[in-house]
């Protein structure tokens, strides 16, 4: 055998510890978490005008208003698919430049599946609820918020955190999902001033801000690791 320069075997504890350290280092070098979060933040910010201008509002003379968020349906499915494709390509390129393979494909597939799920749910709701108006309990509304593009972003991020065994990303995603599902708006309420079109803005602002802050945080952490 041609390996005399390195002692064979060794203390099993040390060998196992070396294995864990190396595996951790590889996983860390494969990550481009900041880029994924940045792309999703940009997509969320760009989606706001689509929701605003794409919303169909019909107000009755008595004061009640009906609305349909057509802009969300038009903008988000292609935007999310493009975002996941861009993230996958960037992950592969970045990992390749570092001399590694990437483990991003399941994330991109999950992203595409969750996009299809949200689109199907919204199309079904748009077809069914106008003729069957209903009042839902709070738990249904939480589920409804999960089936939004912002909720689906969180679900796909959970998969990325699992793939990368990335505990900070898991913690970030848990916090992000709380913000989306609660929903937390930090007291922002633009509806009295700008009407029903502005009712969903605070949630989107909070979601985009959280993703942007996450991107900045992970980029900073990455820079410090180097």
């Amino acid at each position: 055998m041609t390996t005399e320069s390195v002692p064979a075997g060794g203390d099993p504890r040390r060998l196992l510890s070396d294995v864990r350290t190396l595996a951790h280092r590889v996983r860390r070098d494969q990550r481009v978490t900041w880029f994924a979060l940045l792309v999703l933040a940009v997509v969320t910010l760009a989606g706001m005008p689509f929701d605003w201008y794409g919303m169909k509002v019909h107000c009755a003379p008595g004061g009640g208003c009906e609305f349909a968020r057509r802009g969300v349906l038009l903008y988000w499915p292609p935007a999310l698919l493009l975002a996941y494709a861009a993230i996958a390509v960037w992950y592969v390129r970045a990992a390749r430049a570092r001399g590694l393979g990437a483990r991003v494909l399941p994330y991109a597939i999950t992203g595409a599946l969750t996009t299809a799920l949200f689109t199907a749910a919204w199309v079904a709701a748009a077809l069914y609820f106008p003729s069957h108006p209903q009042r839902f309990p709070e738990w249904v509304l939480v589920f409804d918020r999960l089936l939004t593009p912002w909720g689906m972003i969180g679900v796909a991020l959970l998969v990325l955190a699992r793939l990368e065994r990335n505990v900070p990303l898991l913690a970030f995603t848990a916090g992000y999902l709380v913000l989306v599902l609660a929903p937390v708006t930090f007291g922002m309420d633009f509806e009295p001033r700008w009407g029903i079109r502005a009712a969903f803005l605070p949630q989107q602002i909070v979601s985009a801000a959280a993703l942007l802050l996450g991107a900045a945080g992970f980029a900073l952490a990455r820079r410090r690791q180097r």
């Binding site: 055998m1 041609t2 390996t3 320069s5 390195v6 002692p7 064979a8 075997g9 060794g10 099993p12 504890r13 060998l15 196992l16 070396d18 294995v19 190396l22 595996a23 280092r25 590889v26 996983r27 070098d29 494969q30 990992a95 570092r98 001399g99 590694l100 393979g101 990437a102 483990r103």
Partner: protein, 119 residues
């Protein structure tokens, strides 16, 4: 030590040391397999840097693993630059899993021996 290339796991009978795979039970080669397992595909330069080896030394270890059928080596070019990519084979994956299982078993044996009351 018994050489059992691509062994299937720790033996229930006998001491775990008897089942150690000579090809894998080596710090550098275990490192190569670990990195290739995590990365799916790893470039020669990354392995050299992470394992802090010379190119020649790394090549020797890679030859041993390739001869044992544990890794695949693919040479190519990116622009004018030559690059060598290493991938783990199914046999390599199984050997790595078996080695880690044996190491854990060994550690648990050592710990059991350490904590056992003196006779």
């Amino acid at each position: 030590m018994t050489a059992v290339a691509g062994g299937t796991g720790p033996r229930a009978d006998g001491h775990p040391v008897t089942g150690l795979d000579e090809v894998v039970h080596q710090r550098v080669r275990l490192g190569i397999l670990t990195i290739a397992h995590e990365a799916r595909r790893v470039e020669f330069g990354y392995l050299r840097d992470q394992l802090q080896l010379t190119a020649g030394n790394l090549s020797k270890h890679l030859s041993v693993l390739e001869a044992a059928g544990m890794i695949g080596v693919e040479k190519g070019y990116e622009g004018r630059r030559g690059r060598t990519w290493i991938t783990l084979t199914a046999a390599g994956d199984a050997a790595l899993a078996a080695e880690i299982a044996r190491l854990k078993l060994l550690i648990s044996r050592i710990e059991t021996t350490d904590t056992a009351p003196d006779r």
